[in-house]
């Protein structure tokens, strides 16, 4: 396949896709199914792992959503299905679900002890292919392979769409596709052929018509281009043929675009349906959103890509874009988010906000952008930072923007699922940007994309991020989340969690693997999360949480990254009660200490295990990004039965003094191991 578009280019079927080829299913299937299970509860995780192993699946377990995402990103075709808990401290399970759906398009099963109709419905709307109630029985796991097969089947149908309008699985979108395909089919093919300068395209075309086409991976970049094209055309007038022309991606066929458009519409529709009740204001807006948002998204992307775009500008941009789009679209969330963003971010944004109401068409959107003073210069787009930092920053920026645009996130998130109607193209684009960065794992991508975007974007120059501040300005970033806090649901914002952690690490305390995470998923995650959250929920105690997180984070970070983290952390806090998180950290610290002493004189086998876990716990208590569950999860203090009361008292007192970083391995300051009777 041609890789003109850089890493985002379509890729042929991966190893797992090969499986999906339909005729290459191993005989022992479903044995060997590669399952990734994500749950912050170590007990459940251990049980699930054992159950899945008993089903002869290949299991990878993970206790943090961020870790799971980075694992998935690093090994795009390493898993067949994901099982995830709904309530997790670092990221809402639904956000993770959306991320996965958008980026990897893997089937995801949600599980929770919560069996309320509302939560189950949420799973459905977010695209989960199943929902399991805890406690999970092994019987429920024995058949999860069906979701994998089902997805493969659907994918094949997607790609075998060439020329044929009827798909058994297709829904009403089919008819829409039919309109496009029948009228422009031949023309599209020919035009795309002309644009092709790569022989591979010819091959692909030939293949598509007769054989099963290799799967088109809608990467972040590709999707961004798609969204940009759709926005440019106007969501109502976006026909696959024209989108294809605008995108100008060699190797991409009209059918690919058509099926993706269908999904996109479903996604947007779902978004608007989900967020309808959230914002009455928005509900009566039209969805002339697309073009504007796409533009905004593009700009943001570019800006983000360059890594120079101040987070604020980006946010502003997004906000502006979102504001407009929301005004137009029926997505209440976006509008609300926009408003919030604007009010917090930058007075200039308000300008955009006001404009939103007036904007009814793509054209107007563009105008708005012009109206908003942006600090980003076109040339900034060109210069890309090739550092993880910038990427992280960009991610953060994008994320924050995304958060503002909220919808973008959700859009992006939703894209992976068969959705329709993108109201918030901006969001999608914005979200893509961070995703792009993260998935690429390098800033370079943004360059390529930025370039693409710039060329395609008619009004890049006009877009400036008002008062765009570099990520370093955590305050602004934080403000965003704060504002959006109202929007954010009580769930965990992915944005905060993942990047926050990584950023914190990078800051200095936790460098190590977190850095890579930052690159990969850090920035990315937040934006999505923020977007989604913004779009769909109204956060509550966000501000409080933010504050707490901020203080924590600020202690550790000095760099922009730190700021990002802060925001991210804040966002993370959103999802979970900050107290809880802090409390956990504190308990962890205390427990770690206690565990040390306990471990020292405990003869229990468990104690020894605890020691080991404990060590790891001590080392990187808060940011542990490993998949190791036990170590991370249980900061419980273990005391031998004969632990004296006085030691208990000292432990308690220690705890109350506050949590010191769990750096003391086995030399607790407050614990006198000598006193402990054996």
């Amino acid at each position: 396949m041609n890789s003109n578009i850089g890493k985002g280019s379509m890729s042929t079927a991966s190893s797992s896709a090969a499986w999906k080829a339909g005729d290459v299913v191993p005989d022992r299937f479903p044995a060997g199914l590669r399952v990734l299970v994500v749950d912050d509860d170590p007990t459940c995780l251990m049980i699930l792992e054992k159950m899945l192993r008993t089903c002869l699946y290949e299991v990878t377990k993970c206790n943090r959503a961020e870790t799971a995402l980075s694992m998935l990103r690093e090994n795009k075709n390493g898993f067949d299905i994901v099982i995830s808990d709904v309530h997790m401290p670092d990221m809402d399970g639904f956000k993770l679900l959306e991320h996965i759906g958008l980026e990897m398009d893997l089937p995801v099963i949600m599980m929770s002890a919560d069996d309320g109709k509302h939560v189950v419905m949420k799973g459905v709307t977010h695209g989960a292919c199943d929902y399991l109630i805890k406690p999970v029985r092994i019987e429920a796991l024995k058949n999860i392979w069906q979701h994998v097969v089902r997805k493969w089947k659907n994918e094949w149908k997607d790609f075998e769409q060439s020329g044929s309008v009827e798909e058994g699985d297709r829904q009403q979108k089919q008819s829409e596709d039919a309109d496009y395909s029948s009228s422009a089919n031949e023309g599209n093919w020919k035009s795309s052929k002309k644009r092709k300068d790569d022989e591979d395209e010819t091959d692909e075309r030939d293949d598509s018509s007769t054989l099963k086409k290799p799967r088109v991976v809608w990467s972040v970049e590709l999707h961004q281009q798609f969204v940009a094209a759709v926005n440019q055309l106007g969501i109502d007038k976006a026909v696959p043929k024209k989108i294809l022309e605008l995108m100008n991606v060699p190797g991409l066929t009209r059918e690919n675009v058509a099926s993706h458009l269908q999904k996109y519409r479903l996604y947007l529709r779902r978004l608007s349906g989900v967020s309808q009740h959230q914002n009455s204001f928005m509900s009566h807006q039209e969805e002339t959103f697309g073009p504007l948002s796409s533009l905004n998204g593009l700009d943001l992307q570019t800006l983000a890509a360059t890594g120079q775009l101040p987070a604020e500008s980006l946010a502003t941009l997004q906000a502006a874009g979102l504001g407009r789009s929301t005004a137009k679209s029926g997505v209440p969330m976006a509008l609300v988010d926009q408003r919030n963003i604007f009010s917090f971010e930058n007075p200039k944004l308000r300008f955009g906000e006001g404009q939103q109401q007036h904007i009814n068409g793509n054209n107007k959107q563009i105008n708005l952008l012009h109206g908003i003073p942006m600090t980003m210069e076109p040339k900034q787009l060109v210069g890309l930072h090739h550092t993880a930092q910038s990427i992280g920053n960009v991610n953060m920026q994008v994320t924050s923007h995304g958060a503002q645009s909220g919808q973008n996130n959700s859009l992006l998130m939703q894209m992976g699922q068969p959705q329709s109607r993108g109201h918030i193209l901006n969001d999608a684009t914005v979200g893509h940007a961070p995703r792009l960065l993260s998935s690429m794992g390098q800033p370079i991508l943004s360059n390529g994309i930025a370039a693409n975007v710039s060329t395609r974007n008619r009004i890049p120059e006009n877009i400036r991020a008002p008062g765009y501040n570099p990520v370093s300005q955590a305050s602004s970033m934080l403000n965003f989340p704060m504002n959006h806090a109202s929007e954010l649901p009580g769930n965990i914002l992915p944005l905060g969690s993942t990047p926050g952690m990584s950023s914190l690490t990078s800051k200095g305390t936790f460098q190590e693997d977190v850095n890579s995470e930052i690159k990969g998923s850090g920035g990315f995650m937040p934006s999505y999360d923020i977007f989604n959250d913004l779009n769909q929920h109204k956060p509550q105690s966000w501000e409080l949480q933010n504050v707490s997180m901020t203080s924590d984070a600020s202690q550790r970070s000095n760099s922009l990254q730190g700021n990002l983290d802060l925001t991210q952390s804040v966002l993370v806090q959103q999802g979970i009660s900050s107290g809880q998180m802090n409390g956990q950290n504190r308990s962890a610290a205390v427990v770690s200490k206690a565990m040390c002493s306990a471990g020292d004189f405990s003869e229990q086998r468990n104690a020894q295990n605890v020691n080991q876990h404990f060590n790891t716990l001590l080392v990187d208590n808060t940011i542990r990004v490993k998949s190791e569950i036990v170590a991370d999860v249980s900061p419980a203090n273990l005391f031998p039965d004969h632990f004296g009361q006085e030691d208990l008292m000292s432990a308690l007192l220690k705890q109350q003094e506050g949590i010191a970083p769990a750096e003391n391995e086995f030399d607790f300051d407050g614990y006198s191991m000598d006193n402990i009777p054996e």
């Binding site: 007990t43 009660s577 107290g579 809880q580 956990q584 962890a588 249980s634 203090n637």
Partner: protein, 153 residues
Amino acid sequence: MERNPMRRQLAVMRQSLFDQGYLDEQFVQLEELQDDANPNFVEEVVTLYYRDSARLILNVEQALERKPFDFNKLDGYMHQFKGSSSSIGAKKVKAESTLFREYCKSGNGEGCMRTFQQLKKEYATLRKKLEAYFQVPIIFQFFSLSTLLNMCF
């Protein structure tokens, strides 16, 4: 050494745990997962549960010391705790956590505190019983002093 009497005793012990409602069907699921590759699986899971859930108990403990109660937070902790407890089949503990959550949802602080005391009792009782069953002490969890004093070991 004659193991039959021992085994029989263990079987009786086990059955009574079910009969008295301390454990439910989920515990059987765990037992069925135990095999030659993991001969101590159930015990390991239970140990892990007690270790990890101690943290949650502590969190609730601390949260209940702050007035006014943050019911959302309390509910969140209890949700996690409930999920954990249900996964090992801790029936009574799970029932208490469900009740606790209901009190949280209705904002009944008194109810929460009462239920929490009861929950801790059940939690400790189950641990003792399982320790006797596994014949291996499960490592103490860290409780606040008051909790420890309240618990009857």
